[in-house]
Symmetry: C2
């Protein structure tokens, strides 16, 4: 064995990933599953514990870092709104600590992914960094003055809940016009379902109308899917410009299954955001895709165990 190991867990709305990660950020072993919310938070806990025990095996493990889609109250180690948005306050940190007898650190999933990309991926060496991941939901993270933005209650960086249109579609958070309502997988699916043109779209016959279905339809030239893609790009460009104007970052990292899976969405977003942000913020700005694929979250979460923030 060379060096300590830690377990990183990344619990998204759709996918659950668990990995055994060393002190250099290298992933020694990884487990990928669908997030199974049918058993409620206790069911997801079991899923996590099963994966973590498998990864631990006979290894000595220093601790577990968990990133979860939702708002985390870090003072209490509680997930306020978990993957299905209807969980009550879930004391996930304590539960997992009792099950595994290991120290547990809990944060939002995209905050953990930001840590991963910052330390080992597209954000290496950055002093001023922002990141947005567009998947089933939209999350974010930021590094300011060379330190992770955590905020007063550990919830900094919820860029998915930037409203770009005061009379826009209602978001799951209760507010109109959040970029998540336009451009996330769940937002795209809801908009497709509610669109008057659905019946003449190939999406009408889709068994599972989700973000990936919209991406496939867009690739096949479906007019509804392409219009939703364009609206998502416009909303994302506006949200990313807002983040740039607020933070004046040196680098913006964009990624996620929807941003990289929906045809041209990445390029349209980068172009739109660059056009709209303030000139003083544009000149020294780089926009990049993530480098660690779907492993940013587990790498970031495990690295937090090795090197606390």
């Amino acid at each position: 064995m060379n060096g300590r190991l830690a377990i990183g867990i990344d619990i998204g709305h759709t996918n659950l990933r668990a990995g055994l990660v060393d002190q250099t950020g290298a992933v020694r072993d990884v487990i990928r599953e669908r997030t199974d919310i049918s058993g409620g938070p206790e069911g997801v806990l079991e899923q996590i514990v099963r994966s973590a025990e498998l990864l631990r095996g006979k290894h000595e493990v220093a601790g577990i870092g968990v990133g979860i889609a939702g708002q985390c109250d870090i003072a209490r180690g509680v997930v306020r709104c978990g993957p299905n948005l209807f969980w009550p306050d879930v004391p996930l940190q304590q539960w997992l600590n009792e099950e595994m007898k290991l120290p547990v650190i809990l944060r939002n999933d995209v905050v953990m992914a930001t840590v991963g990309e910052w330390r080992y991926g597209a954000g290496r060496g950055c002093h001023e960094l922002v990141m947005l991941l567009v998947g089933t939901g939209i999350g974010g993270g930021a590094v300011v003055n060379g330190k992770l933005l955590q905020g007063a209650t550990g919830c900094g960086g919820h860029f998915g809940h930037i409203s770009v249109q005061m009379d826009g579609p209602l978001c799951g958070c209760g507010r109109p016009g959040c970029v998540e309502a336009y451009a996330s997988g769940s937002g795209l699916a809801t908009r497709a379902r509610e669109d008057p043109c659905l019946s003449s779209s190939m999406l009408a016959n889709t068994l599972r109308l989700d973000g990936m279905a919209v991406a496939q339809a867009a690739l096949a030239g479906d007019p509804l899917a392409l219009r939703l893609r364009d609206e998502a790009a416009t909303a994302l460009s506006s949200a990313v410009s807002n983040v740039i104007n607020c933070f004046n970052p040196q680098r913006v990292i964009l990624g996620g299954a929807v941003l990289n899976g929906l045809t041209q969405l990445f390029d349209l977003t980068v172009r739109g955001a660059m056009e709209q942000c303030l000139p003083s913020h544009r000149d020294h700005l780089e926009m990049k895709n993530i480098e660690l694929g779907d492993l940013s979250g587990i790498i970031g979460a495990a690295s937090w165990v090795h090197y606390p923030l």
Copy 2:
């Protein structure tokens, strides 16, 4: 004499203030004038030098801190878009240094005001703070992890250029729907001038249709002015919620001549922003008015000379 003195200069679109400030943040002397842009940047430079020389008198002064409305390139000490928005790149830092033979520090006006409120006003003791000032324009500043947000090029905190409506009114920055286009003094005036109901409003007969005229008309119950106030409150609420969701601050400081001068705008904005932001961000959040009145900017700018950031 007790302690060193520094000069703080605050150059807004409308008002220019200069003050002699000691190391405790106390203002020993202050000069208030209208910003006179008729002579271009050189004319404003003369105005600054005249005020600064008057304040210096026979005192020993450690340096000059300048906050100016616009985008500052701190690497070059240049104002990219000054008060009238049509200035070319102005090397104000160098000009002023040559005229006064004193060290000069240059930043955006509301960033300087944020420093003032953080160190001596409504933000004292805050680790996570954001501030928005609504005057002729809208500016902002933030403290993250106990340090001032400066950003990659010194331009962090341009919260006036958060777009809240993708098809909203065009902002001076070239982008549609910035909160500055709705709620700043200049935005309110432009919206009044372009409104089809102007002819039936008391604003039709106003000699100088600016933010203060809208405020006076609203106080007199003018329907157009009250509608513009409501629209400004809605836009501000959305922008402030966006900032809260991004930064997760412990405190939000709001102020400025328009926010405090337009009847009920402050209360409507606070209520709207609190309703819209994420629950996890709301619970431990305080929203306050500024405490240093129109002196935050000069106090912050001078304090930067005393205690560099």
